[in-house]
């Protein structure tokens, strides 16, 4: 079985400060990992993914995420937060040995960037 946990319901950060949104996962094999962002009353937008290779993945809007196999984590980061980054962020995982099975999403973390 595959699962993903986002331990923080809410993250608050001041504009210009670095931000981190945490994600840990559990899969039987090797993971495919994704981050999505959702703005109010909109669908989810893809930010970045880890499939294989370099542990540091760069994505849209200056976001990046680091895959850590020993800690089974895939935390989302940004060096300098913007007010416009305020949104709901979702981590998702799929076991790479599970064929076409759907992604499993975390419950989401609400990021609030304060000016």
């Amino acid at each position: 079985a595959q699962s993903v946990a986002q331990p923080e319901d809410q993250v608050n950060v001041a504009e210009g400060n670095p931000l981190t949104v945490k994600c840990t996962y559990s899969v039987s094999g090797n993971p495919y990992l994704f981050w999505y962002v959702q703005y109010p009353n909109r669908g989810l937008q893809f930010l970045l993914k880890y499939i294989t290779g370099d542990n540091l993945v760069k994505g849209s809007y200056g976001f990046e995420a680091e895959f850590n196999k020993s800690q089974t984590s895939f935390h989302l980061k940004k060096p300098s937060a913007l007010v416009s980054d305020s949104a709901l962020y979702f981590c998702a995982v799929r076991d790479n040995g599970e064929g076409n099975t759907p992604l499993v999403f975390g419950k989401g973390t609400r990021l609030s960037v304060i000016a």
Binding site: Y32, F34, Y36, P40, N41, R42, G43, L44, Q45, F46, K49, I51, L88, F90, A92, R94, N96, N100, P102, L103, F105, G106, K107, G108
Partner: protein
């Protein structure tokens, strides 16, 4: 380029009425299609997914059903809505092959009164 259309954007329906939400994808063929529900602006619950015409997998038994009458069309239905069916319904697609992210529609806000 590929696009996904989902409608209506908002819907208010009385308890006991039927439901039909439609999702179509353009610019690709044989996509995987998904219906999710999001309650109270939080986590996503996978309702149904389909890897081909007429192939529907149900993740959660409930008051809803899904159909895929055409390759790029995915419909979410109910014969009689319950109050608990209220929520934000999201359709998504991904390519049939490979590891690609899901692409989401803009969602339908359903309120059952």
């Amino acid at each position: 380029s590929q696009t996904i259309h989902q409608w209506p954007a908002t819907l208010v329906q009385p308890v006991g009425s039927p439901l039909s939400l439609e999702c179509t994808v353009e610019g690709t063929s044989n996509p995987n299609l998904y219906w999710y529900r999001q309650a109270a602006g939080r986590g996503l619950q996978l309702l149904f997914y389909s890897v081909g015409i007429g192939q529907i997998s149900s993740e959660v038994p409930q008051n809803l059903s899904a159909s895929r009458p055409q390759d790029r069309q995915f419909i979410l239905s109910s014969k009689k809505l319950l109050l608990s069916d209220s929520g934000f319904y999201l359709c998504a697609w991904s390519p049939g092959q490979g590891v690609s992210p899901l692409h989401f529609g803009n969602g339908t806000r359903l309120t059952v009164t």
